[in-house]
Amino acid sequence: MDRIPILKLGGALIVTIQVDMHDRLAVALEEDLSERIVRTGARGVLIEISALEIVDSFIGRMLDNIAAVSRVLDAEVVVVGMRPAVAITLVELGLTLAGIKTALNVERGMAMIQARLAEEDADGVESAHGHREE
């Protein structure tokens, strides 16, 4: 079965969705990502969706679920790279992705995640949380 690759960069995981999402792929991504968050102790997850031609309520719900599961596992999801036409359509559809952080592009999304990591480092949370590298 196809799987969406998950890359690790410092304390963050990066996912680029390059294919037309279907049910099995969405379920596999949720599972893989949760597993990787736990295994690596990642505190941030960047999901890049510039290749997605549409976001319907199915994909919206998938993004929402991933964000909720990640939050429970102490990682923050930032969705980046949404196409303007997709954003316009999404709002008209009635989806606002209120539970998900978004950023315009990868650079700004990574900055958001880095800021969270730096803040927690300063608080000494990182040492208490411990390092769980692969």
Binding site: E53, V55, S57, F58, E92, G94
Partner: protein, 136 residues
């Protein structure tokens, strides 16, 4: 009104939903839709195809490229022989769902289309027709 092109596709699996999106995209490009209009009709098609699959137990879609005078448009008809919708008004309400979805499918598809029509009979099935015309 002339029908320039017409396609029928089954909706039996998640992969079929992807195919419905692809054919809708192709036809909306042929109709000369701009990128935002393409995205809206493809998203509406995706919502309705998923409804046909999840709630109607599968069915089919009829996609038509329309010419009416100088204007071009797209009409999509989704049909299933599923359980039908007892209360169509309620089903059109945002966030109303019986299947664990977000409940935005029907109402959302209606907002993304210029024309929307639904007929449903309990025990017989459901037919949803949407149309979108090229913005001028």
């Amino acid at each position: 009104m002339a029908i320039a092109r017409s396609e029928r596709l089954p909706i039996r699996s998640g992969d079929d939903v992807v195919r419905v999106r692809q054919i809708t995209r192709t036809l909306s490009v042929e109709a000369g839709f701009g990128l935002v209009d393409q995205t809206k009709i493809v998203t509406a098609a995706s919502e309705l195809a998923r409804n046909t699959l999840d709630y109607g137990g599968g069915g089919e879609v009829h996609c038509e490229l329309l010419h009416e005078g100088r204007r071009k448009g797209l009409r999509l008809t989704f049909e299933d022989q599923g359980p039908g919708i007892p209360d169509v008004e309620k089903a059109l309400t945002d966030h109303y769902t019986t299947g664990g979805g977000l409940g935005l499918g029907l109402g959302g598809a209606k907002r993304l289309s210029n024309e929307f029509h639904i007929e449903s009979t309990v025990g017989v099935g459901t037919r949803v027709t949407i149309a979108r015309w090229k913005s001028t």
